[in-house]
Symmetry: C2
């Protein structure tokens, strides 16, 4: 069922500083910031040869990243995004196995304009998992 | 400088349960466990089409993963491993930029029998970064 690792998301307290660090110190290909008001974040994608890193900065106090950064002021790895071919089939299989889908269980449109779902981290070794239909 | 994302490491409290979950519920290709006494861990690699997930379970109380699991009893994302072509050149560039290399600063031999170094998570948005020479 699991396809490619689409991206690893890292929550950061200062997106400009983190972007500059990946660009200049780590020598990676860093894209321009995208503001995503419907997700409460500004994102910067870093292109690696085989996958992407997604840097996330909260837009405001209501952002889903705000509480995470309060707990992890330096930032930290926030979620993994795996690609799936059929997100509704994946969801139904996971629910049948007892895994919890966050929210109302219906896919939302993610940062790549594709349907996404999030799985409860307590069901997956403390790792927040995003599934994206590709 | 940064090459491929070689793997994402996830510390888990129960390697057999986590392996079974990735194999049967998430439908991934899961390898056999490898005991690495010199690193204090047992590892299971999960092959995704473009990268790997490394599940880590501590071998004993002295394992570098033990304290992490005490803080995160359900487990959690532990580190990211980026590939580099020349680990000594990468280290020297990072040190010149003020980044801290863990330990004595000399590469060790990692789980893939290749030279690795770890960078201080506080210098990289709370993310523990492993560099592996490929």
């Amino acid at each position: 069922m699991l396809g490619r690792l689409n991206h690893v998301a890292i929550a950061v307290p200062d997106l400009a500083a983190a972007s500059a660090q990946y660009r200049t110190i780590l020598g990676a290909e860093v894209n321009e910031p995208q503001v995503l008001p419907e997700h409460g974040v500004t994102v910067v994608f870093i292109n690696l040869p085989n996958t992407k890193i997604e840097l996330l900065e909260p837009l405001d106090e209501a952002s889903p990243i705000t509480a995470f950064l309060a707990m992890n002021p330096s930032g930290g790895m926030h979620h993994l995004c795996y690609e799936v071919e059929d997100i509704l089939a994946a969801r139904d299989r996971l629910k049948a196995e007892g895994a919890r889908v966050l929210g109302d269980g219906e896919p939302k449109i993610g940062a790549h304009n594709k349907p996404v779902l999030f799985l409860h981290p307590k069901d997956f070794n403390g790792t927040l998992i995003e599934l994206e239909q590709v």
